[in-house]
């Protein structure tokens, strides 16, 4: 990929992101013209919409960059951020917390703990002689996810508790901002983790060729892999406790960006970051606009938009 055309492509994605931000601010349940939005009486609405843009952008970019990293580390283009068991671990912890009658304010920390515990479980299940083989990580991730999801469904079905039905937002995602301070902390964690991941883009390039190849290029593969898995875990676990589980974005955006800018992580990481932030903001706008004042869970939108796109890409690829 030529450097000059790459710059234009990244610039295009930034413009797309700005455009979607403008759209996200101007559209909503209450139709207010843009010039009036900045008037004093509409400040609270502007504030809420800005928060939603921040949470959507954070979730999108965090998930997409996590997807990029896991795809490279596992050398599997179908890897996605929840592969490490984050989603089901967080979900299970949240469900247990609800059943135990824990106050709502403690739900996010419970979900975070659940996510981290399930990642640890997956990690140690896959570890053999201090090495993490890609295949065993994928396998143990799938096994743990399925097992924990089964426990979630089991708990929900025996409890009959009405409060648990409100838990669906967790399983399909939501950009409702419950706690601004929590959002600030998560945004900070995600931003810092992405910055560190970007510093590893050279290592990611080498590792996506193969672990032995990376070693032959002077990279301490096992340590780099551990650092990257830790960062991805941190991102997904923090995201899951503010916006639940949002499928497809972490899979489809990296895929599309590989086609758009190529596989060099120096370009792929920023491209995925901007594209996913824009994608999420647009999906969120869509979720608010389809049936106002009702809100469709964001995971439903990303899946409905993402699945056809993915099938299209897959078919196009088969023709090549």
């Amino acid at each position: 990929m030529k450097a000059s055309s790459l710059k234009y492509k990244i610039a295009f994605l930034i413009v797309l992101l700005l455009f979607s931000c403008a759209l996200g601010i101007s559209q909503g349940a209450s139709a207010i013209p843009l010039q009036k939005l900045f008037a004093a009486e509409n400040q609270p609405i502007l504030y809420l919409r800005l928060l939603r843009i921040i949470i959507a952008a954070t979730a999108g970019s965090g998930l997409a960059v996590s997807g990029v990293v896991l795809q490279a580390v596992l050398r599997n283009a179908l890897a996605e951020p929840y592969l490490l068991g984050t989603s089901s671990g967080a979900g299970l912890a949240a469900v247990i917390a609800v059943i135990a009658g824990v106050p709502a304010i403690f739900l996010p920390p419970a979900a975070f703990t659940g996510a981290i515990l399930s990642i640890l479980l997956v990690y140690f299940l896959a570890r053999e002689r201090n090495r993490i083989a890609a295949q065993s990580l994928i396998l143990s991730g799938v096994i743990i996810s399925v097992a924990l999801s089964a426990i979630i469904v089991f708990l929900i079905s025996i409890s009959g508790d009405e409060t648990l039905h409100s838990m669906t937002w967790w399983l399909w995602g939501s950009f409702q901002v419950y706690d601004v301070r929590l959002l600030a902390v998560v945004t900070l964690i995600v931003a810092c983790s992405i910055a560190v991941i970007f510093a590893f883009s050279q290592d990611l390039n080498a590792i996506s060729l193969g672990e032995e190849e990376a070693t032959h290029l002077g990279i301490d593969t096992e340590s780099v892999k551990k650092i990257l898995i830790l960062l991805v875990s941190l991102i997904t676990a923090s995201l899951v406790c503010i916006c639940g589980i949002i499928g497809f974005a972490g899979l489809i955006i990296p895929h599309m960006m590989r086609i758009f800018v190529g596989s060099n992580h120096k370009a792929l990481i920023p491209a995925s970051l901007f594209a996913a932030a824009a994608f999420m903001i647009l999906c969120d706008a869509l979720s608010r606009l389809i049936m106002p004042p009702l809100e469709i869970p964001i995971g439903v939108i990303t899946a409905l938009v993402g699945a056809p796109l993915f099938i299209f890409l897959l078919k196009k690829r088969q023709k090549v």
Binding site: K2, N205, L209, G218, S263
Partner: protein, 270 residues
């Protein structure tokens, strides 16, 4: 003559199993060494030990007199480059991107490529005749082209020692000779030291100044082609009947395979 790589009494393998047992060898500067031996004799494991993918259980490996354990991995990879057997690359990288990854050992994290790095890459591509493929995607290449690109990446590391694991195994004879001639030119003109695993004994005889014959994880014989490629050595290691003749062009040993049927009607006079 300077010893580049010295392997002393190493044992090693995978997860506790011993594949390489007490192997010692030296690669001198300017060598074009061939490592031969039947399947499972430990050739690839030996190179994995030499390139620090595997840790030896016992014994020592030193590079220009320094134990490799004392050399940082990045510095080691500036001196020793490796070309794997057949590279499957899952992701769409361009040829230029693949070759420039050879500069990773020379760069700090996030450091941008300098003029010097770009020059090393284009030099590597010129030597391997891959400059014309620069903007192609690596998954669109034929296996011969892909192998040359991977060699270009290794050359971009600007190593003193190039190790290769059967670089010609999936290629037709035309491409085999093309790659072997290219390596010989690098060896003769640029002074690059080469050690490679070869399956084809006749290619080994033709190109290598030194052969190492492995059997069951140990060195069965080493020396010149004439010393190593005797019918006694080959028959006892490969468990098959061969006739060793001489190449009519350069009178180096030439191994002829003998089928079971041919063995029966072999004239008794020879």
């Amino acid at each position: 003559m300077e010893t580049l790589l010295e392997i002393k009494n190493i044992c090693g393998g995978y997860s506790g199993e011993t594949v390489i047992n007490n192997v010692s060898l030296r690669i001198e500067k300017g060598d074009f060494a061939g490592i031969i031996g039947p399947n499972g004799s430990g050739k690839t494991t030996l190179l994995k030990l030499a390139t620090r993918v595997l840790m030896p259980y016992r014994g020592s490996i030193s590079l220009r007199g320094t134990p490799v354990a004392a050399i940082p991995l990045k510095a080691f990879c500036r001196e020793v480059a490796f070309v794997p057997q057949d590279t499957v690359i899952n992701f769409p990288f361009s040829v230029e991107e693949i070759v420039s990854m050879g500069r990773i050992p020379h760069l700090k994290r996030l450091q941008r490529q300098t003029q010097r790095d770009v020059a090393a890459c284009s030099h590597a591509m010129a030597m391997t005749d891959t400059a014309c493929l620069k903007d192609k995607m690596v998954n669109e290449l034929s296996s011969g082209e892909r192998q040359r690109v991977v060699i270009a990446r290794a050359l971009a590391q600007e190593p003193l020692l190039l190790l290769l694991d059967e670089p010609t195994s999936h290629l037709d004879i035309g491409h085999q000779i093309q790659i072997m001639d290219m390596l010989r030119t690098l060896n003769k003109d640029k002074g690059l030291t080469i050690a490679m695993i070869l399956h084809d004994l006749n290619l080994a005889s033709e190109y290598c100044n030194k052969l190492i014959l492995l059997d069951k994880g140990t060195v069965y014989a080493q020396g010149s082609a004439e010393q190593v490629l005797t019918y006694q050595n080959i028959e006892s290691v490969y468990h098959t009947v061969v006739v060793v003749s001489n190449n009519p062009i350069n009178s180096k040993p030439y191994v002829i395979l003998v089928s079971r049927e041919a063995k029966k009607c072999r004239p008794h006079s020879t």
